[in-house]
């Protein structure tokens, strides 16, 4: 019997490897096993013991099956010919193994129901209210900073910036098909269903970035409809919120002004920049162009709306969070804590390659059903056939949006 301990060791080794492979949080930023907020903690506290129970049942049934198969094997054909005792059943035993699992499941059920209602509790009034709108294939975030019930103070996309240690009350909607918003470290997922508003509460224990992605199949680029939650300290968040609400200023640089014109001519049928006016009118005196943009109330199941680009440069990603806006290299980080927001950081670390490629031919960069040109039913950014000059102008304009 020298083989068996070796087999045991091997099994233990494999099991250990599997555990190591699953628990390296750094390797798996989207893991469900490392909660970083109280809601996700609640879920894990419920499921971990149940995984334990399941593991015990697993070992019992597997072990039982192997034991039975080994112990009662027929040695040879003649042995098989001998009749075993013809047992037709055992009522007590069977009632027993009907009731016992039912009892275990009853206990599991009670804890589950309690947790369901616990997680569904309405967040306190001081929670930060954020509206999330899913759309093929990016997420829009609208903040109600002043608590007046309207989500218009900040309109942003891709990065959901939140303060640490504060409950965030999310109101999840969709503008076209069903999506599902999910940042596993903070809470379970919740579907974004057109025509409905679904609540979800998240809270991050610590500042940091929490990765997620859309988890309800939503068409072509479902795989690239990514989510990033950026939790900041309270002060940082207040600073961010303030910056976001600083009114748009017309660019002064010549190149950027050209970009501003190009933007007004090419992009504003879908994109908005809050407070932006038409440069053709000579600046800020044209009232009609100054009217705040509103997305259609009705969910007409076609896109037509694109990310609001106000304070574009304060984001870390673009194109539905598919691309990083900045190259996060050691050299860039060496520029200081706020490197991403300094002139130098922008100059040296802007992900100009991908940004220009995106402007040059978006459908080549991300699977979309954009059509030939911007149209009411196009989904995703079409190829606008911009010239290289226009692209340079636009980039020069975009980097002023900070």
């Amino acid at each position: 019997m020298t083989r068996r301990p070796r087999l045991l060791k091997l099994t233990a080794l494999l099991f250990g490897l599997a555990v190591v492979a699953t628990s390296c949080a750094d390797d798996a930023p989207q893991t469900t096993l490392k909660p970083k907020g109280p809601k996700a903690d609640t879920i894990n506290d419920l499921i971990n013991p149940i995984f334990g129970i399941a593991a015990v049942v697993f070992v019992l049934i597997m072990g039982g099956a192997l034991y039975v198969a080994y112990r009662f094997r027929a040695k040879d054909d003649t042995d098989f010919d001998d009749f075993p005792e013809q047992v037709h059943g055992n009522f007590t035993l069977e009632i027993g193994w009907t009731i016992l699992p039912a009892l275990i499941l009853l206990i599991v059920g009670v804890f589950t129901v309690v947790t369901v209602f616990d997680l569904a509790k309405k967040p306190p009034p001081e929670a930060l209210q954020v509206e999330i709108i899913g759309q093929q294939w990016w997420w829009e975030y609208r903040y109600d900073i002043d608590g007046d019930g309207t989500y218009e103070e900040i309109i942003t996309a891709n990065d959901l910036v939140i303060p640490e240690d504060r409950e965030i009350s999310l109101h999840i909607k969709s503008r076209d098909v069903i999506h599902s918003w999910w940042a596993p470290a903070l809470n379970g997922k919740r579907d974004a269903v057109p025509g409905r508003t679904h609540p979800l509460t998240i809270q991050a224990d610590r500042p940091g970035e929490y990765i997620g992605q859309c988890t309800e199949f939503c068409g072509l680029s479902h795989a690239e409809m990514r989510i990033k939650v950026v939790a900041l300290t309270k002060d940082e968040f207040d600073g961010w919120a303030q910056t976001q609400q600083v009114p748009f200023e017309n660019p002064t640089d010549e190149r950027a002004q050209a970009g501003w014109s190009a933007f007004a001519g090419q992009c504003t049928s879908c994109h908005r920049i809050t407070g932006m006016t038409d440069p053709a009118s000579g600046g800020d005196d044209l009232a009609s162009a100054d009217a705040p943009f509103e997305y259609p109330e009705a969910l007409d199941q076609v896109s037509g709306a694109a990310p609001n680009l106000t304070k574009f440069m304060s984001r870390s990603t673009f194109a539905g969070a598919k691309f990083d806006l900045r190259k996060d290299t050691p050299e860039c980080r060496a520029l200081g804590e706020n490197w991403a927001y300094t002139e130098e950081g922008l100059e040296r670390c802007l992900n100009r390659t991908d940004l220009e490629a995106w402007l040059r031919n978006p459908p080549a960069e991300k699977a979309m059903a954009a059509g030939e040109a911007a149209a009411p039913d196009s989904r995703g950014m079409p190829n606008l056939n911009l010239s290289e000059d226009q692209i340079d102008d636009l980039v020069a304009f975009l980097i002023t949006l900070k």
Binding site: A21, T22, D27, A28, P29, Q30, T31, T32, L33, T42, L46, I47, I50, V57, F58, G64, A65, V68, A69, F72, R73, A74, D77, D81, V87, G89, N90, E94, W97, L105, G109, T112, T115, F117, L119, Q136, D176, I178, W182, P184, K189, R190, V193, P194, G195, R196, G212, Q213, T215, E216, F217, C218, G219, H222, A223, A298, D300, Q301, A367, R379
Partner: protein, 672 residues
Amino acid sequence: MSTTDGPLALGTGGALTTRPMGVFARPGEAKGWRSWVTTVDHKRIGIMYGAAALFFFLIGGIEALLIRLQLAAPDGKLLSADLYNQVFTMHGTTMIFLVVMPIGAAFMNYLMPLQIGARDVAFPRLNAFSFWCFLGGGIVLNSSWLLGGGADGGWFMYAPNSGVIFSPTHGIDFWNMGLLITGIASLVGAINLITTVLNMRAPGMTLMKMPVFTWMSLVTQFLLLFAIPVLTAAQFLLMFDRLFDARFFDVSAGADPLLWEHLFWIFGHPEVYIMILPAFGVISEIIPVFARKPIFGYPFMVFSGIAIGFMGWGVWAHHMFASGIGPISVAAFSVSTMFIAVPTGVKILNWLATMWGGKLRFSAPMMYSIGLVTMFTIGGLSGVTHAVSPADTQQTDTYYIVAHFHYVLFGGALFGFIGGWYFWWPKVFGYALNDRAGKINFWILLVGFNLTFGPMHILGLQGMPRRVYTYRDGYGFNLWNLVSTIGAFLIAVSFLYFFWNIYSSRRQARALVKVKGQRLTTLGDPWDGRSLEWMVPSPTPVHNFDVIPTVTVLDEFWHRKYGEDENGRLVRIAATEEVSQKGDALGVHLPSPSYWPLVLAFGLPWIAYGLIYNLWFCVFGGLIVVAGMYGWVMEPSSEPGDHHDDHPHTEPHPSDASGETAATTEEAALVD
């Protein structure tokens, strides 16, 4: 009693024309392709279901391998996003509707009439019609690959993503039409098989003397009877939305997309049991034979199956825990879902208890059955972890779910079915598959299966979503996806080996199964079987039973072979040959072959293509359907002079050793 005059007393053969429509001569071939396309024999229809399912399995399997190749490494470039979405949609749809369901139908069609001692199903022509509808639907569905691309909305086809705005190609229309037609097949089959079980059991076979497989078939058919219409209704809404500008799922017109989700899963969850219960039935037949013990707790096995059937209707919304249906619904469906694990657990433990104390012989069918018990247990346990709805909001739509349902449907249903193939192959084809190759086949499949789907548990818990055509480096997904891809190819190898085994076993068809150290002269009962199908020669004669046996106990055939001696010891009381039938009865009146089921079914795809392309095709298809119906109605279900041989009016076969009288010889079909 004469065996020739049917209850309908249609007169003698000469009095009735054999060309009721003046179009076709009534087919009478017993061999050749024409005999297959006109057959109404439940056994041939069963074989055709199995063959068609294996063909679709190749297609679905190639799609699976494409998926795994795409995901073998991050940023896969093999398939575009668009093509990948089509491939995974068609993989799921094909495997569910065109593989697992028809394999179940193959077993039920072939075996269930034999197990209840019937000569055919209640409505033999409807049975043929079911098969041709299934085949037609499968062809319509897959023809999309040649006509502009497959459906791209996922097998669950959630609205509004399935709408024409979001999926402007015809892929989803083909999906919709194909499944509407296979739905007809399922519904007609359900009525047919339910009627058969309820009305055509051999004398003495009360419901509680039916083999467990027949019981599970009955429950499955009731599930189909009630589930398919819900899907059909939902698909009609989708069809009108897509083809005729209706607005059932148009949110801007006030629709709620959750309507589709509810309708789909009210069908979709019983569907899971439609796929697994026949496999449960299969291994409930296999394990007692190879343990040499009766099934442990027959009533519990039957009632747990029925309980699963009933409870299966109260759990559908566990597919929607993240869809925002509110905490009360979520809590209720969590609890109901957990409790469906109870009857399933009873089954697992009863199978183990059947093995307990037995004399286990590990032939290939037994290996696959134990494979089902263990692999399904894994799927069942992961199932309980997502019945815990808060946890499910982390798990749903990740690879954890993909792992779960492959353990249930592949590790469960398919393992059971493959075991069933090895078990009943001699009965169906008259030669056994090589058992040693079957065991090698099993181990390759088991390893490949676990390598493919085991790592998906980890991937899912690490946050890898389903239905993504690509994933990034740095998320911890690389290693396990690669392992999974390797495993998928191992599964492919095991199936190639299985096909090779069929080929080579067929070549050595004369090599008989060794039982108890001696070669049997007949393959009628190669495993020392228990139920009535082993009583007839292999392959089953066209009329099934020379004489319909009278049933007194569960496992009737086994009890004819074995009984207690005067000391109460279990001994053999009759040689297998003595209690088996010879298959040489003459003058048994059987339903006659017919063209009309094929004609009627042939009209349906025309209507489907017509709805998609040009309504004139519908007129043409409709005319075929009407002509088919007319011909069908005008044709007697069986020609009075038609017997399975050329000797009408022969005296009935002498009674067999078990003492039944020839008076039990009767019409195979009651009505048609």
